[in-house]
């Protein structure tokens, strides 16, 4: 006796919900998707400058913040400079200064062998796929 009445009521509610709730649902989808896009754009992977001394991590710095740090290596201080999303070794206590000759880099690594300092820029994921995995020579 009551069952047909309930089913009618159910239909009525569904009918009412479709407009408002559909809008809500679509809004939620848009917010969540655009949120992902925003996060990926605002914080792209591979903007970190990692500095290691003798195999141990010493610094982890963002590439988009200008900063100069003095890194204590085994022979003295290596000065690492980050500026305009580029990084270089500005001063080094090693004899050959090979690391300084490399100049500014945006990706890859700067290495000071005698002072045991490795500066790595971790590459963007998309760029990594096209990038070379290793260099011979």
């Amino acid at each position: 006796m009551s069952s047909p009445k309930i089913s009618r009521a159910g239909r009525e509610i569904t009918k009412g919900a479709t407009t408002a709730d559909k809008i809500l649902l679509i809004a939620l989808i848009i917010i969540s998707v655009s949120g992902f896009i925003f996060i990926k754009k605002a914080f792209p992977e591979g903007t970190d400058v990692k500095i290691e001394v003798n195999g141990k991590p010493a610094y982890l710095l963002p590439l988009n913040v200008d900063k100069t740090v003095s890194v204590k290596g085994i022979n003295g201080d290596t000065i690492v400079e980050i500026k305009d999303r580029k990084v270089r070794i500005n001063e080094s206590p090693c004899p050959n200064k090979i690391c300084m000759h490399d100049g500014w880099i945006q990706q890859g690594a700067l290495i000071c062998l005698p002072n045991r300092v490795i500066v790595t820029v971790t590459g963007n994921k998309d760029r990594d796929n096209r990038k070379i995995d290793a260099i011979s020579g």
Binding site: K5, I6, A9, G10, E12, I13, T14, G16, A17, D21, L24, L25, L28, I29, S32, V33, F36, E52, N54, G55, P95, N96, G103, A109, I111, L113, R116, I118, T120, N129, K131, I132, D133, A134, I135, S136, G137
Partner: protein, 363 residues
Amino acid sequence: MGMTEKFKVKSSKLKVLKTYAFYASALLLFCSIFILSACSPQKEKVYRKSKILMDTIITVNVVSHSAEDANRAIEQAFSEIKKLDKFLNFFSDKSELSEINRNAGKKPVRVSRDTFEVIEKAIHSSEKTNRAFDITIGPLISLWDFHNKVKPEEKTIRQKIRLVNYKDIILDKNASSVYLNKKGMRIDLGGIAKGYAADKAVAAMKRNGIKSGLVSIAGDIKAFGLKPDGKPWKIGIRNSRPANEDDDIMATIELTDMAISTAGDYERYFIIDNKRYHHILDPKTGYPADKCRSVSIIAKDGFITDSFSTGIFILGAEKGIKLLEDMGIDGIIVDKDGKIHTTKNLRGKIEFTKDQQGRKRNN
């Protein structure tokens, strides 16, 4: 009347329930987008670590589902390299190699299996290259100081060159001993140890269940398996005479289950009177070999690519390509004029960067 009131209550309750259901489904959707957008922990990734060992930079790449597995394999690879460096370091007084050199002309020295094996393999490369590659070059290497631009006297070179001949290495497999026949002889494994270490590092990774990875010890690289995107590893070959910063790669090649090494005259050198003196010495003359600018060798084993890149550099393009093709090994040779020679099998497999197209010439 009672009927309608009852109905109204039911309807509002349902409406609340319905709203909850929508929030729940939206949340579910949000989560599923999260999972789909590559946050899944099961996905394969390349784990990478660099260390300074063997007086150079070493990078180990491992493809794995788990960071834990990857790190364990990476550490195993590094400890293998560290062990070899302890045995084979020319500059450390404590190495087995130094003990062999100290006892030259005195007595045989009992060594580890690794040290014995690498010397045995080096002798094999000496035979194959008709002594263009020779690890007994130690006394000559010590005469040249590329850092302080010291060119040795002709007379001194002539004296020391008599000590250079791999045939004066006496191996005793049963005793696992190495003996240098002449006093003053010195073995330098700089032209083979890194390639050999790359082989051992890869073997260590495989023992740890790793299916794909890459180890690069300076310019000596060994790769196996495929990257997470299903592609082989892409290796760049350094340009010996880059015109500018963006010109540092001459060519690229995709490799899997292969090693590659490059010997170049640009690594350690000085220039006097427009002549380039570099670190790749011809064991027969005592002077830097002048037939090539760079030689890259591709083969299964790192100890072959490492020693042959040096040996072929000394032999030159003509003899080099012939020897490589006879042995079924691949190579890219840039001769002293900058012309590029490749073995037949490599054609179509190397991708030259734009600037190099004009200089390319196949044999």
